[in-house]
């Protein structure tokens, strides 16, 4: 079977490429023929999931070497494709374009811009290739905790590393499953919850039956889908806007005109008036947050008067219900009310601080945004090089050299996607500034109306200065998944919506596959069998891994469907946690002979502890519960997602000190 598999990887990939092109052409014809969009998009969803599940079933195995590390026989290009798909998550595939569009290139002077994500996510692969890939492959272990356990000859190190891997991967997994639910429900028109569980069926069929072997082949095909969908979409938008398919050139051609329009908007009196209104509202909210009880009473009296007046004037039920949505009227708990006001303030702040073009004007001199940019790049690079589900892909090639080459291949595919994503952000900005800003509220562009009214709204507009005209500050773009609205914004065929969503689904599914395998293998191999049944037969190991995989998937799905998740926030946190937990111990463990098990334990505990503490203590929910102020808990003005900046140095320091001190005490 293995020999047969080796002979057809490129045939499989070519077949998937040809199938995707054929499917797109057929659905384009169906679209021109007037087939409803829901049917066209739903077809992409069904065909994608069935395709991945069929590959999973075809690659099913119970052989441990195949299940855990794909037989260590994957070629460098194929492993590179699988690594790229594993790494290109919902956040990076769906989110990067929206992030660059909304936050600009270099940020707003407080927060990092989109370039920090772009550089961090690509540069991390250089570190992975230089420092870890070949060494992990050479070790012939099967998980990262297994590698660390053997390096330090310590079950405790393996046990702790397993919990670290489970924590980092779980945070990442919930965000991915949330992304899967968004895309699946958008494509199919089903509810979010049903979308999650249907798409999860595809993930489970693939990873449950065939483990790493099935996941590798599926991810290879998913890489084709991701790259093709992004490149085709970018070329189509480029053709539509500039008349040629070269997206980088099209974006460069559009930029001067975007800059001129941005300057015009920034100095428009109506825009300035809108910003003044928003600033005033923010000041009012500050007063309310400072005196919540008093403000709640006043606000409730106001709402009660308005509701009574509306009822006396026989206002519609909808108008009355709208008045009653005021948080001061709705919320019974003061904590929740303050939370609602803080959330409203955050949205208002985003409206006036985000750049109109791609940078905030007059952003000269060193500022907190640049600190945050550098810190974020540091965390994303080191996190990419230390994410357990990416590191395990180094085990699946035959030789260390192939492991290194596969990293280069992976980076090549990721770079292609990101070049398109950043160019798309520029082209989309042109549509927002030229078509939406300045339009009348009752004569919005058709795409704006559609994006507003969708079940999954990608856009909202609030006329703050009540002049009936859309100003830039009135617009709120939901950047996490705005890219899914590209075909509508740019007036290209709705088939591209299906194609793009198929790419997004592939990105989320492939990452979820890798994460599920990492978590279930850590639970089964590194925790259960290591301590409870060290001599268990291979078949039993595989079966327990499969069962745990299903349990973890269902738990993550339940969690994702119960809580709204900010995909980008949690994914970035996962990078910081992974960097803090694994980077110091891997770096010192591989390259410093003096590192011992005490140092390894201290490096992991201190790095993970500091990083998790910084994220937790700055989370709005924790701050509200513990009555903390952000000014007291933020260090050096850095965002919580940059917690790796503290975790990594502390991990390195404690790793060094722990090793030296334990050696001294022993002597």
């Amino acid at each position: 079977m293995t020999m047969r598999l080796k002979s057809w990887p490129w045939r499989l990939l070519l077949l998937s490429f040809a199938g995707l092109v054929l499917l797109t052409l057929l659905l384009l014809l169906a679209d021109f023929a007037g087939v409803p969009k829901g049917v066209v998009n739903g077809f992409f969803l069904v065909v994608s999931i069935i395709g991945y599940a069929v590959i999973g079933m075809f690659c099913r195995t119970t052989i441990p070497e195949e299940y855990f590390v794909a037989g260590r026989s994957i070629s460098a290009p194929m492993n590179g494709m699988a690594t790229a798909a594993d790494w290109l998550s919902a956040a990076s595939f769906i989110g990067l374009t929206g992030l660059l569009l909304s936050d600009g290139f270099v940020g707003d002077g407080q927060h990092p811009g989109g370039l920090a994500y772009l550089l961090g996510w690509t540069g991390g692969f250089c570190l992975l290739g230089f420092l870890f890939a070949a060494k992990l492959n050479l070790s012939k272990t099967i998980t990262i905790p297994d590698f660390l356990g053997r390096r330090f000859d310590s079950a405790a190190v393996r046990w702790l590393a397993a919990w670290g891997a489970i924590l980092c991967s779980s945070v990442y997994l919930v965000a991915q499953i949330y992304g899967i639910g968004l895309v699946a429900s958008m494509l199919s028109g089903l509810t979010f919850e049903l979308g999650v569980f249907i798409a999860l069926g595809g993930v489970l069929l693939c990873s449950f039956l065939g483990g790493m072997r099935a996941v590798t082949w599926t991810q290879g095909v998913q890489c084709v889908v991701i790259v093709v969908s992004m490149v085709v979409l970018a070329m189509a938008v480029s053709f539509k806007t500039q008349g040629h398919p070269f997206v980088t050139i099209a974006a460069a051609q559009s930029l001067p005109q975007i800059q001129a329009r941005a300057k015009q908007i920034e100095s428009d009196p109506a825009e300035l008036a809108t910003r003044d209104v928003i600033s005033l509202r923010m000041s009012n909210l500050d007063v309310k947050i400072a005196e919540p009880m008093y403000a709640r009473d006043i606000e409730r009296q106001n709402v009660a008067r308005q509701v009574a007046k509306a009822k006396s004037e026989n206002a519609s039920l909808r108008d009355i219900q709208k008045l009653e949505t005021n948080p001061a009227w709705r919320e019974t708990s003061v904590d929740r009310l303050v939370g609602a006001w803080q959330a409203e303030r955050e949205v208002l702040g985003e409206a006036i601080y985000r750049p109109v073009g791609f940078q905030v004007p007059y952003l000269n001199g060193w500022n907190a945004g640049w600190n945050n940019s550098l810190a974020l790049i540091f965390c994303l690079m080191l996190g990419t090089a230390a994410l357990p589900h990416i590191l395990v892909r180094s085990y699946t090639t035959a030789t260390p050299r192939d492991a290194e080459r596969s990293i280069v291949w992976a980076l090549a595919f990721i770079v292609i996607v990101y070049l398109c994503a950043s160019s798309l952000a520029v082209l989309l900005k042109s549509f927002v500034l030229n078509e939406l800003v300045g339009s009348h509220l009752d004569q919005l562009p058709d795409w704006a109306d559609r994006l507003k009214l969708r079940k999954l709204a990608l856009l909202s507009i609030q006329d703050y200065n009540q002049d009936g005209i859309v100003q830039f500050a009135d617009i709120r773009l939901f950047s996490d998944y705005l890219v899914l609205g590209v075909p509508e914004i740019t007036h290209i065929s709705s088939v591209f919506t299906g194609l793009l969503a198929a790419g997004a689904l592939a990105a989320a599914l492939s990452t979820a596959d890798g994460l599920l395998l990492t978590i279930s293998n850590a639970l089964a191999q590194d925790l259960y069998f290591q301590t409870a049944e060290p001599n268990a037969p291979p078949l039993r190991r595989v079966m327990l891994s499969k069962i745990l995989l299903m349990v973890v998937a269902l738990l993550a799905a339940w969690f994702a469907t119960n809580r709204p998740v900010s995909i980008l926030f949690w994914v970035t946190c996962a990078f910081s946690l992974a960097a803090s937990t694994f980077f110091p111990v891997l770096l010192l463990g591989i390259y410093w002979r003096g590192m011992n098990r005490v140092g390894a334990l201290m490096a992991m505990v201190s790095g993970l502890g500091i990083s998790a503490y910084y994220i937790a203590v700055n989370h709005p929910w924790v701050q509200m519960r513990l009555h903390l102020q952000a000014s007291d808990t933020v260090w050096l003005g850095l965002d919580p997602v940059c917690s790796g900046v503290f975790g990594v140095p502390v991990g390195l320091l404690f790793g060094y000190l722990g090793s030296k001190l334990s050696k001294t005490l022993k002597n």
Partner: protein, 85 residues
């Protein structure tokens, strides 16, 4: 503290310990190049905050391609590969 277990059947071929090794020179220079390229590019973007075309063409488009070239260069001919083969 739990004691290290004996290797189970499925893990039998694994080496009992993992050797510490030196960082290949090319990889070391690769890391230096990565830091220099990243900080230099961002520094350029921050020195010229209004030149958006530079941000786009250099930082968003050229630097990721340079990372790819750097990754390719830095992973060539390491002594580890020779040992393994």
């Amino acid at each position: 503290m739990p004691q290290p277990s004996t290797a189970p059947e499925s893990e039998a071929p694994h080496p009992p310990t993992i050797d510490v090794m030196a960082l290949p020179r090319r990889a070391l220079w690769g890391v230096v190049g990565l830091v220099a390229l990243t900080v230099g590019s961002l520094g350029l973007a921050w020195l010229l905050p209004d030149v958006t075309l530079l941000h786009f063409l250099w930082v968003a488009q050229a630097v990721p391609v340079l990372y790819l070239l750097l990754a390719w260069w830095g992973t060539q001919d390491t002594h580890l590969n020779d040992d393994a083969s």
